[in-house]
């Protein structure tokens, strides 16, 4: 994610020929929308009346708000980024999203992933300032929201640590430009929820009952999850819309008119299938046969109006670009492609026909009905909300199953391979999702561990699960050594499994010894 600080001001100042060292602010409706760093130093703040801003800083350059201008002037920056990495998404003027993983590996050479990301972000900032003459900051994170906040702070968030990075940040960060959540943020603050971490810790249930849909979305963002789960499958039918233009489009106004009708058609096509789009690609071909394209991304589903705006901005930047970058002729062919889809309110089944299950089930009416139900549930809970178990290779009960989101491609290769050391059937009917600690002790209440030769140090007599009351063991078997990951230094010592049957109505359990020094057993499975 690449962020140009205070972009509207930078763009407006450049358009008006104001030097970046002069304090400047963009006004709309007589209030400061955004101001430059210099102006901020004089005490000018967002939301201030013009008169007040001018009284604090008499030389402030007053600039008008104009999103089209911002977008147009941003194009050179995007082009500069695109020279370096393909597949650039414009989030809004001033913010560009870039896929990092591949690019970092390419530019970082043989360095470790962290160093590679670092090298890549430096390279990116350098490229933008050298080519487009604009300052920018780079941040890296897994999710769009986290990446945006990371870019503002110039932070590279390690993979999978989004939630950790977001936790200490204030809830005010939820109020991104003009998304109208200011009131909600204010409410959170008054309730004493000051950081994103505190919001993330609440259960979904609590948030949903107190704050409704808005709260649930905010909590998703705060946890570093995507705001809306992506549509799990690509639609079968092509939803792109296109238009041949004769005479060619050479002026922004005519282009804007075409863009509007085209955007309406795209939107109608999407709503007819109950879908919405969060990334839209704009492709244009000119008389001279040149192809131009740009992808715009948005945090929430775009409306027809949004799409039309983006097409217009894009045209402005193409048609009014400098002599080198300007297309040689008018645009004769315009195409809008929805690149990323999210579910609308409900779903039409025919899109998902022949879902990811095995081929022979496809024609079965029961499967079709079930598929419809699963897609409905996925619309409620997100794609990971419905899983199918896939039996895979492995020895432990948790390793032998993989839960795959419904509709993802299945790979059943592992099951056929032999897995020596696997316990014979029957398997445990419950496999705790998180490790459940247990204490196994002998008659003298000493903890049972493993000797260097892989035998138990004493006969297990009782087991206490999660610090609960100890249950007597009436029968046991094992230990079976687990000779796995000898190359992994983090997993120290030998590990072993035992099966125990507990007295009374207690269940039979499969226990795994993890550590020797201070023996720690975990319940790997329960037979019930």
């Amino acid at each position: 994610m690449l962020w140009c600080p205070d972009w509207p001001v930078t763009a407006a100042a450049a358009a008006a020929g104001v030097s970046p060292h002069v304090p400047a602010a963009v006004f709309a409706g007589n209030r400061v929308v955004i101001c430059s760093a210099v102006a901020r130093r004089y005490g000018v703040r967002k939301g201030m009346l013009r008169r007040e801003a001018q009284s604090r800083c008499p030389d402030v350059a007053v600039l008008a708000s104009d999103p089209a201008r911002d977008a147009r002037l941003f194009e050179p920056v995007v082009a500069a980024v695109e020279d370096l990495v393909p597949g650039v998404d414009v989030v809004r003027p001033g913010v560009v999203a870039v896929p990092v993983r591949g690019a970092a590996a390419y530019f970082g050479g043989r360095n470790s992933p962290d160093a590679a990301e670092h090298a890549f972000s430096e390279r990116l900032a350098e490229q933008v300032s050298a080519t487009a003459g604009v300052e920018c900051q780079v941040g890296i994170a897994d999710g769009l929201f986290a990446a945006l906040l990371a870019a503002r702070r110039g932070v590279l968030v390690p993979e999978g640590r989004d939630a950790e990075f977001l936790a200490p940040l204030p809830v005010a960060e939820l109020d991104q430009q003009g998304e109208g959540t200011a009131e909600f943020v204010d409410l959170l603050r008054r309730l004493g929820l000051r950081t994103l971490g505190q919001l993330a810790e609440l259960t979904e249930r609590t948030v949903a009952t107190r704050f409704g849909q808005e709260g649930v979305l905010a909590r998703r963002l705060a946890r570093g999850a995507a705001e809306r789960p992506l549509s799990p499958r690509r639609p079968a039918r092509d939803l792109a819309v296109e238009q041949h233009c004769d005479p060619p489009l050479e002026r922004v106004h005519t282009a804007a008119f075409v863009a509007r009708t085209l955007a309406d058609r795209l939107h109608a096509g999407l709503t007819a299938q109950d879908l919405a789009c969060t990334r839209v690609g704009i492709y244009a071909r000119t008389e001279g046969g040149e192809e131009r394209h740009r992808v715009w991304r948005s945090a929430r589903p775009v409306t027809a109006h949004d799409v039309a705006d983006r097409v217009r901005w894009q045209f402005e930047s193409w048609l009014q670009a400098g002599s080198g970058a300007r297309p040689t002729g008018g645009v004769v062919h315009l195409r809008l492609v929805p690149e990323e889809l999210v579910h609308g309110a409900a779903l039409q089944l025919h899109l998902w026909h022949g879902a990811g299950a095995a081929g022979e089930m496809e024609d079965d009416p029961g499967t079709e009905r079930a598929t419809r139900a699963f897609t409905r549930v996925q619309a409620l809970l997100g794609p990971e909300g419905v899983c199918t178990p896939v039996l895979t290779g492995g020895r432990g009960p948790a390793e032998r199953v993989e839960f795959v989101s419904w509709g993802s491609p299945l790979d059943r290769a592992g099951e056929q391979a032999p897995w020596p050391g696997r316990l014979p059937a029957p398997s445990s009917t419950a496999v705790p999702a998180r490790p459940v600690p247990a204490a196994v002790s002998d008659k003298e209440r000493r903890a049972v561990s493993l000797t260097a030769r892989g035998a138990l140090t004493s006969r297990p007599h009782s087991v206490a699960v999660e610090g609960g009351a100890a249950r007597n063991i009436t029968g046991w078997a094992g230990p079976w050594p687990v000779d796995e990951r000898w190359w992994d230094s983090a997993a120290e010592g030998q590990r072993a499994r035992i099966q125990v049957v507990t007295a009374g109505d207690g269940p039979a359990m499969l226990l795994l010894l993890r550590e020797h020094g201070k023996p720690q057993w975990i319940v790997e499975g329960v037979y019930d």
């Binding site: 979904e204 249930r205 949903a208 009952t209 299950a357 095995a358 022979e360 089930m361 079965d364 009416p365 029961g366 499967t367 009905r369 079930a370 598929t371 419809r372 139900a373 699963f374 409905r376 549930v377 409620l380 809970l381 909300g385 419905v386 899983c387 199918t388 178990p389 896939v390 039996l391 009960p397 032998r400 199953v401 839960f403 419904w406 316990l423 014979p424 059937a425 029957p426 398997s427 445990s428 009917t429 419950a430 496999v431 705790p432 999702a433 138990l456 006969r459 029968g475 046991w476 078997a477 094992g478 099966q499 049957v501 109505d505 269940p507 039979a508 499975g525 037979y527 019930d528």
Partner: protein, 243 residues
Amino acid sequence: MSGSVRSTGAVARLSSLPGVSTASDMAAAAERDSVTGRLLPVRSELSAALPLGGLRRGSTVSVRGSRALLFALLAEATTRGSWAAIVGMPDIGAVAAAELGVDVRRLAVVPAPGTELLPVTAALLDGLDLVVLGDGLLARHALSRQQTEKLTARARHRGAVLLAADAFPGAELELHCTPGRWYGLDESGGYGYLRERAVTVHGSGRGAAAKPARVSVLLPGPSGGVAAPHSSGTETSRAREAG
């Protein structure tokens, strides 16, 4: 009236499923269609515990005491083309389910329904033959009697079977499993492995299911599936203890 129309539809669907017509038990299938087109089949070892010999479409069943029993109830129907979903049971042992005979390709798991428990369950009842509510789910979500009745009604209308791994208010059939002893472990300790368990399944219910029934089975049996108990239980167990 409409019930009979729906059930003919269900019969047509059932008979069009792959596997049903090709299976060698054509005669059994025909008999089932003619006599009880509204029953989902269960493993023959368990059918004696069910008053109707199967799971009646549209009914609500409470299954307590054993998860293995729950999986075993899904086994026959999923292998014959029905779809099943398990809601709110994140720690499901899918390998055990497969060993008990469940076709896991026709099994979906909704590990964490969260605040959407009711709409999720309702959506699943719309499209699937078998929907399982995990243990503790009802208590955790503090479902009111009205809400559980809504689910029961949904199952009845859609011809699905709602199984709860819990006590379920108003359940038509209650299955209760008393765990028996495990075989396969050596008494002296340390040898053998858990091989099979003898259990007794009690069935009781309301209406047509009022007559209590009881059946002894091995759950799980020697290969992880359901098996009939050894003909003379005491003798075998003594033999096992000796060997």
